[in-house]
C-alpha cells in the first residue's frame, strides 16, 4: 500500500514537473524570439548608412578643397571628382525618407538628416561641369559638409552606443534565458525519466498482478476440475484406504476369530441371537473393507480373468436365492425372468459383478422390487439385466455413477456402504471386456445391462465347485504353525484352529518359529504366516526359512493386511496363496483345505511318477 501511494505521488510530481517545464520552456522560447527580433533590427544597414554618409560628406569636403587648390590643368579632374562625390551624396539623401528615419531613429537624427538633405538638394542646380565656383564658395561647401559630417559622426556614435547597450542587455537576457532553458530542459528530461520509470514500475506491478490473478485463476480452475473429476476424492480415498486397511483389519480379524470360537460356548438362544447380530455387524464391516480391498486389487492390476464355460442360469439362480432373504425381509419382490443358457467368462468375476449390481439395486429400492432378467439374441449374445423400481439416477449423474463414493443422497442413511459397488462393477466389467450399459428414470427405477457372449451348452457339466460348505473335519490333527507378531490375531487364530481339532504352534517371528520347531519336535503340516513380521522380515522369508529347515515344501498360506501391488505380484509369483485380512473362518478353512488337497495331489503325482 505504501509502495503504491509512493508510486502515485512520484507519477503525479513527475507529470506536474514535466508540465511546468514545458510551460516554462515555451515562455523561454517566446522570450528568446523577442530577443532575436530585437537583434534583427540591430543590423549592418544602419552601420553602412552612417558610415557611407560620413564618408560621402568627408569626400565631398575634400573634393571641394581639391577644386579650390587645383591648378587650371587639374581643374577638370577635380571638377569631375566633386561631381562624383556630389552624386554619391545625392544618392544617399534621396533614399526614401521613411527608410532613413527608421534607421536613424535617434534623438537629433531627423533634424540633422533634414539639414543634410536640404544642403544637398540646394546644390543640385549648380552641380554641372560648367559651373564656376569662387574660393569662398568652395570653402563654404567644405566647411558645411564637415560640420554635417561631425553631426553624423555623433549620431552614429550615439546609435552605436545605444546598440551596444541594447546588445549588452540582450546578451544578459539571453544568458538568463539560456540558463532557464537548460534548467527547465534538464527538469523536463528528469521528470520525463522519472515518469517513465514510474510508469514502467506501475506496468510491472500491473503485469505481476495480472500474472498472479491468472495463476490464481488457473489454480482455481484446476481445483474445480479436480473437484469435478473426483481427483481429490480419489486421493482422499487412497489415504483413507491405507489407514483403514492398516488399522481396521487387525482388530477385525481378531474379532472374527473370537466370534467363531465363541459360538460353541454360548448355550442360550438369546445369547446366540445376540452373537448372530454381532456377527452380522462384523460381517458388514468386513464387506466394506472387502470392497475397499477389491478396488485396490483391481487398481493394482493383479487380477487376471480365468475364462471358462459358465452355466449362467445356475449362477442367476444361486444369486436369486441369496438375495431372496433380503427381499423377503424388506417386502420387496425379486423376480427372475428368461433363460440365459451358457456363456464364456470368468465365473467368479461375473458373480461379483451381478452380486454388486443386485446389492446396489436393493440398496436404492424402497418399494416395488428387483428383476434379474436374461435373454439371448440372434447374434449369439446374452443380455443380463438388473432392473429395479428404486429412486433412479438423474441424467447428469449417469456418467459419474461409477465413480468411487458416488451414491445417492439417502443411500448412506440406508447403510449401503461406501458406494464402492458400482465402481467395482465398472472395473470388473472392463477387466472382463463385458459391455455394461445403464439407463434410468429418476423416481421410476434403474436398469443395468450386461452383454455377454452366448455359447451352446457343453456336453459335460463344468467342474464348478460343488458348494461353499467346507467340512472342517479333514483338518483334524493337522499341525499348524502360526507366525504373526500381533498377539490378538495370533491367539484368535490359534483358538479357532484348536476348536476345529488342529494342533497349533504359535510364534511371533522367524526365530521363535525355528525355536518352536526344535522344542515341539513336531513337523508342521501347514504354515500360516503374516506377511509383515518384526525387524523388516516378511512371511515369505519365514516360509522359505522353515521349508529349508524342514527340508520339505510344507504347504503355506500368507496372511496380509497389505495391498501393495508389489507384494501381491511377489506372492503370486511364488505361488503362495494370499489371504487378505480380515479373513473369516470359512474362508480360512477353505484355503487350508485347498492347500492340503493340492499337497496330497502333488504327493500322489510324485508317487505315481517315474
Amino acid at each position: 500500500m505504501g509502495v503504491r501511494t509512493g508510486l502515485h505521488v512520484t507519477i503525479t510530481v513527475s507529470a506536474l514537473a514535466a508540465l511546468a517545464a514545458v510551460v516554462m520552456l515555451l515562455v523561454v522560447v517566446v522570450q528568446m524570439n523577442d530577443a532575436h527580433d530585437m537583434l534583427e533590427r540591430d543590423g549592418v544597414l544602419e552601420f553602412n548608412f552612417v558610415h557611407q554618409t560620413l564618408h560621402a560628406l568627408g569626400e565631398f569636403s575634400l573634393a571641394a578643397m581639391s577644386l579650390r587648390a587645383a591648378s587650371p590643368g587639374q581643374h577638370q579632374a577635380a571638377m569631375q571628382e566633386l561631381l562624383l562625390r556630389y552624386d554619391v551624396l545625392y544618392s544617399i539623401v534621396t533614399l526614401p525618407p521613411n527608410w532613413a528615419s527608421s534607421v536613424l531613429d535617434g534623438e537629433g537624427a531627423q533634424p540633422l538628416f533634414q539639414r543634410l538633405r536640404e544642403f544637398t538638394l540646394a546644390l543640385e542646380a549648380r552641380m554641372t561641369p560648367e559651373a564656376a565656383w569662387t574660393g569662398q564658395q568652395l570653402d563654404g561647401l567644405s566647411r558645411t559638409s564637415l560640420t554635417l559630417s561631425g553631426g553624423v559622426y555623433e549620431i552614429g556614435n550615439e546609435i552605436f552606443q545605444r546598440k551596444a547597450a541594447l546588445r549588452d542587455a540582450l546578451a544578459g537576457r539571453m544568458d538568463v534565458l539560456i540558463g532557464l532553458f537548460w534548467f527547465f530542459g534538464a527538469l523536463f528530461l528528469l521528470a520525463g525519466l522519472s515518469l517513465y520509470l514510474s510508469m514502467a514500475h506501475a506496468l510491472a506491478n500491473a503485469a505481476r498482478s495480472a500474472h498472479e490473478a491468472d495463476t490464481a485463476r488457473h489454480q482455481l480452475a484446476s481445483a474445480l476440475e479436480a473437484l469435478t473429476d473426483g481427483d481429490i476424492a480419489r486421493k482422499a480415498r487412497n489415504r483413507f484406504l491405507a489407514a483403514a486397511t492398516h488399522d481396521l483389519r487387525q482388530p477385525l480379524q481378531a474379532m472374527q476369530y473370537y466370534l467363531a470360537a465363541l459360538v460353541l460356548h454360548v448355550p442360550l438362544p438369546e445369547g446366540r441371537e445376540l452373537l448372530e447380530r454381532i456377527g452380522r455387524t462384523t460381517h458388514s464391516a468386513q464387506t466394506m473393507l472387502t470392497g475397499l480391498l477389491e478396488l485396490s486389487r483391481l487398481d493394482a492390476g493383479v487380477l487376471v480373468p480365468h475364462r471358462s464355460a459358465v452355466d449362467a442360469d445356475e449362477l442367476l439362480q444361486r444369486l436369486v436365492e441369496e438375495f431372496a432373504v433380503e427381499a423377503g425381509e424388506r417386502s420387496l419382490t425379486l423376480a427372475r425372468l428368461g433363460r440365459a443358457g451358457w456363456t464364456r467368462t470368468d465365473p467368479q468375476l461375473l458373480e461379483r459383478v451381478l452380486r454388486n449390481l443386485l446389492a446396489n439395486a436393493f440398496a436404492y429400492t424402497e418399494r416395488g422390487g428387483v428383476t434379474l432378467g436374461a435373454r439371448r439374441t440372434e447374434r449369439s449374445t446374452l443380455l443380463i439385466e438388473v432392473r429395479d423400481t428404486g429412486i433412479g439416477i438423474p441424467e447428469r449423474e449417469l456418467e459419474t455413477v461409477f465413480n468411487e463414493y458416488q451414491q445417492a443422497e439417502n443411500a448412506l442413511r440406508n447403510g449401503a456402504g461406501l458406494g464402492l459397488g458400482l465402481s467395482i462393477v465398472r472395473r470388473l466389467t472392463r477387466l472382463l471386456g463385458t459391455p455394461l450399459t445403464v439407463d434410468s428414470e429418476p423416481g421410476r427405477g434403474t436398469r443395468f445391462e450386461l452383454t455377454l457372449p452366448a455359447i451352446p451348452a457343453p456336453a459335460m457339466p463344468s467342474d464348478a465347485p460343488a458348494g461353499d460348505e467346507v467340512d472342517p473335519s479333514p483338518l483334524e490333527r493337522l499341525v499348524v504353525l502360526v507366525i504373526d507378531d500381533d498377539a490378538g490375531v495370533r491367539e484368535g487364530i490359534a483358538m479357532l484352529l484348536r476348536q476345529h481339532g488342529c494342533q497349533v504352534e504359535c510364534a511371533f517371528d522367524i526365530d521363535e518359529a525355528l525355536a518352536r520347531l526344535v522344542e515341539s519336535e513336531l513337523a508342521p503340516d501347514l504354515l500360516l504366516a503374516d506377511y509383515r513380521l518384526p525387524n523388516g522380515r516378511t512371511g515369505l522369508e519365514a516360509i522359505d526359512v522353515i521349508r529349508d529347515e524342514l527340508n520339505d515344501d510344507v504347504p503355506a498360506l500368507l496372511v496380509t493386511g497389505d495391498t501393495t501391488p508389489a507384494l501381491l505380484g511377489e506372492a503370486r509369483k511364488r505361488r503362495v496363496p494370499l489371504l487378505h485380512k480380515p479373513i473369516d473362518a470359512r474362508q480360512l478353512f477353505r484355503e487350508m483345505d485347498a492347500a492340503m488337497r493340492s499337497r496330497r495331489a502333488d504327493g500322489a503325482s510324485d508317487g505315481s511318477g517315474p
Binding site: V44, L45, N48, E59, L84, D87, V88, S91
Partner: protein, 175 residues
C-alpha cells in the same frame, strides 16, 4: 573606418564558404574584346580572361551584350517593388573565367565588401544596369548595382544579403 574593418572581419569569418566554378578551357584562352565607351566595371584578380592591363574592363554595351536577366523585387532602399535588369553575376564571373565566386566588391562611394557565401548557381543575383526600365545614373545608385532577388528568395533577405547588395558597383577583385 574602424567600424568598417570590424564589420568586414565579421562577414569574412561568418561566411567563409567558397564556391568554385568550373571553367571552359577554350573560353579561358580567348581574350575579351576592348571596351568602346566609358568603362563602368573593372574585374581583376583570379580571372582567366582580360582585355587591358591584366584586367577585364567593361563598358555598358559589353555588359548589355551578355545574356540579360530581370526580376522584380522589394528592397530596403525603395518604396514598393522595383524591376531590375542586368547580367547574372554567375554568368559574368564565368565570362571572365573567374577562379571562384568570391570577390571583393568596391563601389564609387568607396564602400567595399567581400562577396562570398552566396550560392550563385542557386540564387540568380544580378549586376543590374537598368532600374524600372531606365539606365541608372550615379544619383540613382548606378550605373551598376548588385541586386538580390529578395522576393523570389526570402532567405536572401538577411543582413549579409543586404550588405552584399552593393550599389554604385565599380570594381570586382576575384579571390
Amino acid at each position: 573606418m574602424e567600424y568598417l574593418h570590424r564589420a568586414q572581419g565579421r562577414f569574412r569569418f561568418a561566411w567563409p564558404i567558397l564556391l568554385t566554378l568550373i571553367f571552359h578551357a577554350p573560353l579561358a584562352a580567348e581574350p575579351l574584346p576592348l571596351p568602346d565607351g566609358e568603362v563602368v566595371l573593372v574585374i581583376d584578380g583570379a580571372i582567366a580572361r582580360t582585355n587591358i592591363d591584366g584586367e577585364a574592363r567593361f563598358d555598358l554595351a559589353m555588359l548589355q551584350g551578355l545574356a540579360a536577366h530581370a526580376f522584380t523585387t522589394d528592397t530596403p532602399w525603395h518604396e514598393g517593388p522595383q524591376r531590375f535588369e542586368g547580367v547574372l553575376l554567375s554568368a559574368l564571373l564565368e565570362h571572365v573565367g573567374a577562379a571562384s565566386s568570391s570577390f571583393k566588391a568596391e563601389a564609387i562611394d568607396d564602400y567595399t565588401v567581400t562577396f562570398s557565401g552566396i550560392d550563385l548557381q542557386r540564387y540568380p543575383v544580378i549586376v543590374a544596369y537598368r532600374h524600372g526600365g531606365e539606365p541608372m545614373t550615379r544619383r540613382r545608385l548606378g550605373p551598376l548595382r548588385i541586386v538580390m532577388p529578395f522576393d523570389d528568395h526570402p532567405s536572401l533577405r538577411t543582413h549579409v544579403g543586404k550588405a552584399l547588395s552593393v550599389w554604385q558597383l565599380l570594381r570586382m577583385r576575384v579571390l
